[in-house]
């Protein structure tokens, strides 16, 4: 039996089993925990597909941050679970849904099996031009040099999503602090972890950001680590969530997009096109954009998890 195929086969069986369990289990809290586990197994699948950057991102954001977000929501929604559960559709609708789901899966499987051979790929074009960017990691080069407009738009989309979340607060709480006030237990376990882990987390985040130029890593993964450390400190009660009307908070949110846009527009007179880098200045400019974006991503992701303001700014 082919050993790598056995490993891949076992992983696929595990992933599908956890996914089916997440759909089928009765308790919503258990389903959320199942989804976090599913995210981590999916990160392993990404490693097997030789996409290490995607594996890091999936483990951090898909498994970690989404898990935290959904656990907080599941705990809040627990009282309404049984009330809504009576709306479960009957057997006929379930059978129809199964047929539809099966058809969609089968159609996708047919598409996968009829992928063209040899596979079309842009790897030769990337390899041919990557020397001009000064980077060693092809994925970072694609994100910040060859398809930089996509990354710029994504940074802006994150800010829009946060504004949309903030807009859900009641009018009287606009500009207040998001999330509840977490009680600090000075000698408790969570406070101990919140004092021990953030310095280490910040060092690892800076390392992941710096090494992302040549090895798997980059600003998304680093920003997620920073956001997680900040969230840990807030949830242990060591620090409180800042009011969303604070000036420094809003500046931190938009810094990434503003720097990205500024360098982009500066490329028009200096290098001939929007987001073109002048020859020889590629790597320094990319690092500046990445550093500013990492900060903005960290603040944005943490605030997205905390949610809309729930307390007035004075509390």
């Amino acid at each position: 039996m082919n050993m790598p195929l056995l490993v891949d086969g076992s992983l696929v069986v595990l992933i599908l089993a956890v996914a089916i369990w997440t759909i089928a289990v009765r308790d919503s809290f258990a389903a959320v925990v199942g989804y976090a586990i599913y995210g981590l197994m999916l990160a392993l699948a990404w490693v097997r597909l030789a996409a290490i950057d995607a594996a890091l991102t999936e483990a951090a954001i898909g498994g970690g941050l989404t898990g935290v977000l959904l656990i907080r929501a599941a705990v809040r929604l627990r009282p309404t679970e049984s009330v809504v559960a009576v709306e479960t559709p009957g057997r006929f609708v379930k059978a129809l849904a199964a047929v539809l789901a099966g058809t969609v899966s089968a159609a996708l499987a047919v598409v996968v099996l009829s992928f063209p051979v040899p596979a079309p790929t842009l790897a030769p074009q990337v390899a041919g031009h990557i020397a001009s960017t000064g980077l060693g990691n092809a994925v970072t080069a694609v994100l910040l040099a060859f398809r930089a407009t996509d990354t710029l738009l994504e940074a802006v989309v994150l800010v829009f999503a946060l504004i949309a979340v903030w807009s859900l607060a009641p009018d009287r709480l606009w500009g207040g602090r998001p999330g509840p006030r977490y009680h600090l237990e000075a000698n408790g376990m969570l406070a101990y972890l919140a004092r021990l882990l953030p310095p280490l987390g910040i060092i690892v985040a800076i390392y992941v950001f710096w090494v992302g130029a040549d090895l798997p890593g980059g600003k998304f993964q680093a920003g997620t680590l920073l956001a997680a450390m900040w969230l840990l400190a807030i949830m242990a009660g060591l620090t409180d969530a800042p009011p969303v009307s604070r000036g420094w908070l809003r500046v931190a949110l938009v810094t990434g997009s503003v720097v990205f846009l500024a360098i982009g527009f500066a490329g028009v007179p200096l290098a001939g096109a929007f987001l073109a880098y002048p020859a020889g200045y590629g790597k320094p400019l990319i690092l500046v954009i990445e550093a500013a974006s990492m900060l903005s991503i960290a603040v944005t992701l943490a605030l997205l998890v905390l949610g809309p303001p729930e307390r007035s700014a004075q509390q």
Partner: protein
């Protein structure tokens, strides 16, 4: 069947599982979970396309990988917005149901 095809089958199955969960589960939080399953299944298909484009010493075609990374981050922000909407719905109307209220009881604003 080699490894990439196996993960391609896995991605297709995940989209189907997520679609079934989206239709059958009445709780909105479970629907959000199922939607995330569909999304990650699609990303896995992207990963298979990237792996099949391996060439010149790179493990995979970097362009689909970069698209997936962008996609994971944007999917998280969409999930966060959906969860915030759901919690606000629960605060405003007292229950997290997607079915319309009966005509006799007007919902509280």
């Amino acid at each position: 069947m080699n490894a990439s095809m196996l993960y391609g089958m896995c991605g297709s199955a995940l989209v189907g599982i997520g679609l079934y969960g989206l239709i059958v589960n009445p709780q909105p939080l479970r629907k959000i979970l199922s939607f995330n399953l569909i999304g990650s299944g699609v990303f896995l298909l992207f990963g298979v396309i990237a792996r099949r484009g391996a060439a010149l010493g790179m493990g995979g075609d970097p362009v689909p990988q970069a698209l997936v990374i962008t996609g994971i981050v944007v999917a998280f922000s969409a999930t966060a917005l959906a969860v915030a909407l759901l919690l606000r719905l629960q605060e405003a109307s007292g229950s997290a149901t997607l079915s319309s209220p009966e005509p006799a009881d007007p919902p509280d604003a």
